[in-house]
Amino acid sequence: MEVYLYIALFAPLVGSLFAALFGAAPKTYLTGIAASGLLFTSFVSSAILLNYVLAGHTVHVEMMTWIAAGDLYIPFGFVVDQVSVTMMMVVSVVSTVVHVYSIGYMAHDKGFNRFFSYLSAFVFSMMVLVMSDNFLGLFIGWEGVGLCSWLLIGFWYHKESATWAANEAFIMNRIADLAMLIGIFMLYWNLGSLQYDVVFANIATLPMHIITWIGIFLFIGAMGKSAQFPLHTWLADAMEGPTPVSALIHAATMVTAGVYLVVRANPIYGLIPEVGIVIASLGAFVALFAASMALVNRDMKRIIAYSTLSQLGYMFVAAGLGAYWVALFHLMAHAFFKALLFLGAGNVMHAMHDELDPFKMGGLKKSMKWTWILMTLASVALAGIYPLAGFFSKDLILEVAFVEHHYVLYTVLLLTAGLTAFYSFRLVALIFHGNERHLEHGIHPHEAYTFMLYAMAPLGVLAVIAGMAFKTPYYLMVTHLLPAMTYHIHNHTTFWIMTIGTQLFVIAAITYAYKKYAKAVKVDKKVESGLLYQLLYNQYFIPKIYDEVFSKPYLKLSKLAWKEIDLKIVDATVDGIANIIYQTGEKTHTMQDGNLSSMLRWMVIGLVVLLVLAVAFTAGYNAVNLQAM
């Protein structure tokens, strides 16, 4: 089995290095096909491992030592257990699809080879992240995906906005990574190891406040990767990257790493339910907060990005409330339909010559039938309509909140579910229904390459069946490792009222969205100039506030530190001292005027001074000594 583990892990790396060989060469489909093929291999290996794990085994290998100093010992160790194999499946499925899709999507890009090199490198990092058997190994993947995200957001590096977004994402993640490092330091100095098994076995022996701090610091790390408030602004800006990147990294895999961390560290969070409540509350807040921003946005990709943010909030609610398997389940289901949604958006973008404003589109269902079907499917799944994937995973989170008696969270999540349905179908309605507004701009859309649609098909299938077909076997598998909680509302009436009520609420939201946007788009000037609209449209002015409060003052302070402090104080002091010495020499060198008699005079003065000093010191010394005696 170890062979399959290594294949699953290293096949993407091989693909990346292979594509990198052609980095400077002109575009060749070979790189895309090879990278996709290797990812498919990785997927097959993951599937074999899944089969093995389903039979009740786990694989744990230690490849070699990485860092060993003092008592610290960190190997490159990898573990395939119920949780990591789930993640491996999600990552390998979505990334294989995205790779194949990208062959078509990036076909006309000069950086084709480079793109596949980065994308496969990302998959490798992600695999390291989910398969590591210790916290520092996870951190390797954690930073690795950050690097690849930086490379891919800034893929079109000639665009100022893209490189800016890339740097923002990297730096914001770094802030969270610091907290994560601190968490790792705490684990090491308190437990003497960073291996999951050792840590989780001994964590309960620590004093409560230390566990709490560890939990908090690790969660702050998770907040950065999963773009939770207040470190969320980078995710929307990250949409500057190519759309397949958004599908793979900023929807399906990397951003869910934070959720994975909390799920993986469940023995820690299980001990500190108070922190769990905070996580859940923050998650619920983010769910609503992000959904509200998606309501009015006019950028197709940003809308989907906010939707991702909102769904991440759901996952954190589940994880915070201790329903780790539910969080992981929603992570999986969400990966499928959200990636599908993004890839569909990619098709639309291609057809519309990179136009992103859905208000300039419309009626695309004629020319892009399959994309329309797939995106509608994904949106239905996202809205949580029975029997698609979202129903099983998202409604489950609502039930968790209800069963755990967190009614406020429940209400917030329910409201968000309505908003989710609304903005998803607002998007679908604007793009695919109504007048063909794009004709005014002289754009004649066409459907994407057939093989791209075929590539998306598996995700479409998964978005439909993932909930129904996988729930039970998944539950049976992961509860080997995660707390096996079932969330049943015991009262049948309540259960049915809730389920049907939620469904009706969601359907109502969808209908409203269709009604408002499917026919003709009326821009209500009064609403748009309203405070609420402006607040939402400007993302609560948070990016602006960050810019004013952090970026600009930091630059100013830096300039001040250099020009005023470094040059004018520190260096000037040094030069000042040197100058004093130099000036003293300048002033006194007239003493040596070459005139023997005046020089002799100075000599005598020096002699007298020395004599006086000698006498004075002797006298002083004697006086002190006498006193001492």
Binding site: D593, N595, L600
Partner: protein, 101 residues
């Protein structure tokens, strides 16, 4: 009145002061040599006197050394002085400024 060490030392100090003032005030190179000789001899008197009163001959030995060195110094110095006089016709100190710093 018996002559004690103090008297010698006072004489030595007075001579030294005279020499010092001479070194400082004199502009004539020849006079400067005289002043230097006075300085050296002031020290010699001090050395010899202390040596005598303490019964230790080291001081007197040093005095002999100093006399020898003073003699050679004068010899060399006067030689240079004569050369200088032949070249410039003057032995005024203020004229010798080639060592200006």
């Amino acid at each position: 009145m018996e002559i004690t060490l103090t008297h010698y030392l006072v004489l030595s100090t007075v001579l030294f002061a005279i020499g010092l003032i001479g070194v400082m005030r004199r502009k004539n190179l020849l006079m400067l040599f005289f002043a230097t000789e006075i300085l050296l001899n002031a020290v010699n008197i001090g050395m010899a006197a202390i040596s005598h009163f303490r019964g230790d001959y080291t001081g007197q030995m040093f005095a002999f050394f100093i006399i020898a060195i003073a003699a050679s110094e004068v010899a060399v110095g006067l030689g240079l002085l004569i050369v200088w006089y032949k070249r410039t016709g003057k032995i005024d100190l203020d004229q010798m400024t080639s060592m200006r710093g």
